[in-house]
Amino acid sequence: MEIMSLVVTGLSIASILLLVALGLAIIYGVTGVINLAHGELVMIGAYCAWAMQSFFGLGLLASLPLIFLATALLGWIIDRVVIRHLYDRPLDTILATWGIGVMAQQAVRLLAGGELRYVEMPEAMNHPVSLLGVEIPIFRIFILGLAVALFAFTWYLIFRTTLGLKLRAITQSREIASCFGVNSNRIYGLTFAYGAGLAGLAGAVVSPLKSVAPEMGTTYVVDAFMVVVLGGVESLIGSVASAFIIGQSSSAVAFYANDTIAKALVLLFIVILIRFRPQGLFAAKVRS
């Protein structure tokens, strides 16, 4: 029984991780930009959920599409104004996006105040149900479902649409894709917007589970990075697997030791992994 509860906790952590990491994985995989502002986009998504609820009385579910659009637009603007100029300086994107993150954090603090905010869980989803013999709220299952659905949608987008084809072409070689008439600037902008939108969604759905604060993004960005690095940059399936592995191992180690040690051990494991398999655990062989 105890093991089942660990597994379910792990699944819940993993689904949140996957939601946050999916946007990051796409941005990093396609454009090579290390987006340190990703956590802030998550945070902004959470604040949008809070604002929708307290100013317009919109429920969380109803506001999800709006939040996606709003954060996607923000991501597109960030890409057009700043990131676009840095595509051939990947290390500098770390610095620039971190600066953007700092600005976003402070802007939110000025607009919404520094105190913790709370978002209500949709009422219909507050009841516990039994999963694998463990009682958890329906909302957790909703998050799991949403993570899987968004993953499936992203997969479809990348592997079954023209946009995805262009995107994959750019990933392999930007120059040659451009020679064939692919507008890489536009695709980059769209990718960034889509990734940002996903981050916003992730922030919105986790907002009822945790308190919303301007600093909340920092922890997410680190975790999301670890998922992406562990899974392999260009492997979507890898992100799922690594979210699952990190989620389960955090929950297991946290059970036997404590949260801090769990986090430190997971990080150490990832450091060692990068050293020996920088392409990630599940990367397909790509000619480069």
């Binding site: 840095l86 620039a96 600066g99 953007i100 680190v222 990068i274 050293r275 790509v286």
Partner: protein, 376 residues
């Protein structure tokens, strides 16, 4: 080139002289303490400039070395506090609160101040060299170095917070004695501490400058500009990189020790992600490919932050402005203020008929990083 070196030495010496003379004009103890604090951060920036600006290793965990140095000094000073702050048998107070009965073995040697000072340099160097060996022997480069060093910093930070019994946890090590060395007492608010820090700063700055002027320093810069080409020449790139991070960690360790002296405590925030990324900002703003630029960048940014956050009106907007300035610097001044100054100097030289000088100034230009450095 000789002439250019001389100008550089003179500029560096001039700035150090101004710093050393400051207490003559500033008597206010509080202000002196604050200036000393910014100088320490300047030393930290010099250390990052050496590894990031000169070798191209973006070490996002520079605060690891800084924090370790700081804790080494704090441990030694904690053991010298008057008994009122410590438990029975000179046990530090936080250990008493955490039911530690005997001084842990690794605290014992810190009764000796020389040991603590050596440890404050040696521990960061060993850890940096170990991590460097681990990374560079496996030819980890670019973004992955940044991720590994950052992750490692977080691990060390978490461990220090978690091991409350030995490190004081969140609170760090507080209530420290004043440093007593060679007959001097270094009061954090006195001129003595300021001089100590200013002298250490001068020493570190010139030490780093000499390293960059040495043959090894030239190879480090060559590695930054084109790593593989250096490897084809037969140089052991990994060894040089390990050397760079070790020297950098030594300087950061010194800065950490000084920071404890001037702040009168050690805290996990000294090895926090926030500080570590701030160092990167300072170097970027000041100009990472110039030791002096990085140092002045740190003093300028940290000083402005200190001054503006004291006034009510700027308290909130400061961070916003800082973020904006940083993004603008990354976008438009990839070589920072020092780079801008150098370009300006180059223009002046050209008008007075020294075309060779401008050629010399452009040699360190940031190379257009090849798209291949992307992990594909």
């Amino acid at each position: 080139m000789r002439n250019r070196d001389l100008i550089q030495y003179l500029t560096y010496g001039g700035v150090c002289l101004i710093i050393l003379l400051l207490p003559v004009f500033v008597q206010d103890a509080f202000l002196l303490n604050k200036s000393a604090r910014y100088l320490v951060l300047g030393i930290l920036a010099v250390s990052l400039s050496l590894s990031w600006g000169y070798t191209g290793i973006l070490n996002l965990g520079q605060a690891t070395a800084f924090g370790l140095g700081s804790y080494c000094m704090a441990m030694a000073l904690k053991l010298r506090t008057i008994p009122i702050h410590t438990g029975a048998e000179g046990l530090p107070d936080f250990m008493v609160w955490n039911n530690v009965e005997k001084l842990p073995w690794f605290w014992e040697p810190f009764y000796s101040m020389p040991f603590a000072i050596v440890a404050g340099i040696a521990v960061p160097v060993l850890i940096a060299a170990g991590l460097g060996w681990f990374m560079f022997r496996g030819r980890v480069t670019g973004v992955y170095v940044a991720i590994i060093t950052l992750a490692f910093l977080v691990v060390v930070n978490l461990l220090f917070i978690d091991q409350q019994r030995f490190t004081g946890g969140f609170n760090g090590i507080t209530d420290l004695a004043q440093l007593d060395l060679l007959g001097f007492t270094f009061d954090a608010y006195g001129a003595s501490s300021y001089y100590l820090i200013a002298i250490c700063l001068t020493f570190c700055l010139f030490f780093a400058l000499l390293v960059t002027k040495s043959k090894a320093g030239l190879i480090l810069q060559a590695i930054r500009d084109h790593e593989n080409r250096v490897r084809y020449f037969g140089y052991d790139v990994a060894r040089y990189k390990i050397f760079a991070v070790s020297v950098s960690a030594a300087i950061a360790g010194v800065a950490g020790m000084l920071y404890t002296i001037v702040m009168e405590f050690a805290s996990p925030t000294f090895m926090g992600v926030q500080l570590s990324l701030s160092v990167v900002i300072w170097c970027a703003v000041g100009g990472r490919q110039s030791l002096l630029g990085s140092m002045l960048g740190a003093i300028l940014v940290a000083g402005m932050q200190g001054a503006l956050s004291e006034s009510e009106t700027f308290l909130d907007t400061w961070t916003l402005v800082m973020g904006l300035v940083f993004v603008l610097v990354v976008l438009f001044l990839p070589k920072g203020l020092a780079g801008a100054a150098e370009t300006l100097m180059g223009r002046l030289f050209r008008t007075s008929g020294h075309p060779s000088k401008t050629a010399a100034t452009t040699q360190g230009e940031a190379p257009a990083r090849p798209a291949a450095s992307r992990p594909t």
